[in-house]
């Protein structure tokens, strides 16, 4: 369990990720805002607490690795990496600008701290399995974390990789399912109903952990702690999230997958995030 001080620290980190997402996307004028916001809390827990990484040595051989199969959520990851010191926070404003090191989709060649390039949905699960397989061969204790979204689950390759991951007992690979219920053309139920995702993973040989509020850092933390003791079977953590979470302008709204963000809209968002900061300040003062 996180104590309140740790919880506030991670919540503030997540709030800063959201500021980074908004500042980057607003600088360019448009971007993948909904899916980036929905994983902000997850990425905050991973980079504040769970993952063993070294910002001074992004290619450290024994590091934990993160594969964001929903590569369009790059802005969330870039903000987390900047906050962890992989590169200056000011760089976030270069998102998608000509010649940038921060392209729309995660790119390991350009961005320090990105373990693998993604963007063509469905390919991340295999890449994560490859990292886990390589670590298993070498007897390393490193873990690989894989974030998939609904789009990934609609791609058949994700399930090929699930079979492979279970068959080879890659229990140091943790699949994190960002189930925000929406995709480009509408809700997932309308476009292509995914049914019971946890049940599907279990039938593929995974242990699953359901996180009722996938945007609550405490619940995410507890799930990640719980899976540490699980052996021989891979783990899927099903996070019930809200697309656009943390900002009322976008939260739960179909259409926020990729959208324009004007300066005025960015200002409104920043004020809301500053309000969140003040709430966190008040909690901190009461400790």
């Amino acid at each position: 369990m996180l104590d309140l001080k740790q919880e506030v620290y991670i919540k503030r980190f997540a709030n800063n990720i959201r500021k980074g997402i908004i500042s980057g996307i607003a600088s360019f004028g448009a971007g993948h805002i909904g899916g980036s916001l929905s994983i902000a809390d997850l990425v905050a827990v991973l980079y504040c607490n769970t993952m063993n990484v070294d910002p001074a040595n992004p290619a450290w051989e024994d590091r934990d690795k993160l594969v964001v199969s929903k590569g369009h959520a790059g802005p969330a990851l870039y903000a987390a990496l900047a906050l962890r010191g992989f590169f200056p926070v000011e760089k976030l404003k270069t998102l998608n600008c000509n010649g940038t090191d921060l392209p729309s989709h995660c790119d390991r060649i350009h961005t320090p701290g990105i373990d693998i390039s993604t963007g063509s949905l469905g390919q991340g699960a295999s890449l994560a399995a490859g990292f886990a397989m390589s670590d298993k061969m070498d007897g390393k204790k490193s873990r690989t974390f894989l974030i998939v979204g609904e789009g990934d689950l609609e791609e058949g390759q994700t399930w090929e990789a699930a079979l492979f991951t279970a068959h080879y007992q890659l229990d140091h690979l943790v699949t994190l399912v960002d189930l925000n219920g929406m995709q480009v053309d509408g809700t997932t139920d309308e476009v292509c109903n995914l049914g019971n995702v946890a049940e599907k993973y279990r039938s593929f040989g995974f242990e699953t952990i359901d996180v009722a509020d996938g945007n609550d850092v405490s619940q995410i933390y507890n799930a990640l702690e719980m899976c540490k003791g699980m052996k021989r079977r891979p783990i899927a953590i099903i996070l019930h999230t809200v697309k656009g979470a943390g900002l009322s302008m976008y939260a739960g709204k179909v259409g926020c997958h990729f959208t324009t963000v004007t300066k005025e809209e960015a200002d409104i968002c920043m004020r809301e995030l500053e309000d969140t900061d003040r709430e966190l300040d008040n909690i901190e003062k009461s400790l």
Binding site: R108, I109, I116, S117, S126, L127, A129
Partner: protein
């Protein structure tokens, strides 16, 4: 110039040669892994798994997943050779090769077995006439068309030690060894097998042997044909193509592939940008494959010695 056999047909099963070399490479360097999509047995590599179980990985029939797994393993420092039939090793998982592999600057060696008519009785569904065309447009991809034992033995260490994505066409069985001992093979550099003054035949893979036979047949009619083994399709040896154009003023390409997108196209691209000379392309004329034995298919798809001879005569008529 290379030394070649031109009259004795000595057949070899390259799957056995590949397995033998792979086992030695794994013994010497445990970073080498072979990943297969349920076709280990078709190469014979499962025998290696008895001694090195970690280095032979069978994904089951999931080529897309295989490419992803291999790409990340290579980024983590392993040297994966992956295998399926040429069709499924390329066309079926083209986007995975492009994004998980090439875009990630990964280091995966893709073995596509039974290229073109070598698929024989597996027929049109398994007969890649388009694989080079698809792979050639992927940035950074190296493409090799191999059909000889000595050539494979010489190139395997280079394939392993040269970082980057590679596609290697490999007939499993029943190819003619055409090199004598003592030849040199360098990725990206073509081998001039016989000199000639009237026409140059630039061939690759299983078309090298009929190209040599064609040169013999032409010489009996007083026509001097050079033969080049262009075993690296990409990066293509531009210098050799220009040398052939200057020396003979006419070129015939011969490939076990669609004439669209393969060796003939690659040679044509170089010629039009350097020294345009008459060119004829022997290859599959934009058709699907079908079942049949090697000889029947070579005749059906106009890949035989006599087709190369005819193409040489045609191109010589245009030379003046």
């Amino acid at each position: 110039m290379s030394t070649v056999l031109k009259s004795i047909e000595e057949y070899v099963d390259l799957c056995t040669v590949y397995t033998r070399i792979l086992a030695k490479m794994i013994e010497e360097d445990r970073r080498v892994v072979h990943i297969d999509a349920d076709l280990c047995a078709s190469l014979g590599v499962q025998t290696i798994a008895e001694e090195y179980p970690q280095n032979i990985i069978d994904t089951g029939v999931m080529e897309a997943n295989m490419i992803g797994v291999a790409s990340a393993m290579s980024v983590a420092g392993k040297i994966p050779f992956v295998h399926s039939f040429g069709t499924f090793a390329t066309r079926r998982c083209a986007d995975q090769i492009f994004i998980s592999g090439c875009y990630n600057r990964a280091n995966v060696k893709i073995i596509g077995s039974d290229p073109g008519i070598c698929a024989e009785s597996n027929g049109g569904t398994h007969m890649p006439f388009e694989d080079i065309g698809v792979m050639r447009s992927f940035p950074g991809m190296t493409i090799l068309d191999i059909a000889d034992e000595q050539q494979l033995e010489a190139l395997m260490p280079q394939i392993k030690d040269s970082y980057g994505m590679m596609y290697i066409r490999l007939p499993r069985t029943n190819t003619v060894n055409y090199y004598l001992s003592g030849n040199h093979f360098i990725i990206g550099k073509a081998n001039l097998l016989t000199e000639g003054s009237d026409v140059s035949i630039i061939a690759s893979g299983i078309e090298v042997w009929p190209a040599l036979q064609a040169a013999d047949a032409l010489s009996r009619e007083g026509i001097s044909a050079a033969v080049v083994d262009m075993f690296t399709i990409k990066p293509i040896d531009r210098n050799m193509i220009v040398y052939c154009a200057e020396k003979t003023g006419a070129i015939v390409t011969a490939e076990n592939h669609n004439v669209i997108g393969g060796l003939g196209s690659a040679v044509a691209e170089v010629l039009v940008e350097t020294l345009p000379v008459p060119l004829a392309r022997v290859g599959v004329k934009d058709r699907f494959g079908e079942v049949g034995d090697r000889q029947y298919l070579a005749e059906t798809f106009e890949l035989s010695t006599k087709d190369i001879v005819r193409a040489c005569k045609n191109v010589l008529e245009r030379k003046s």
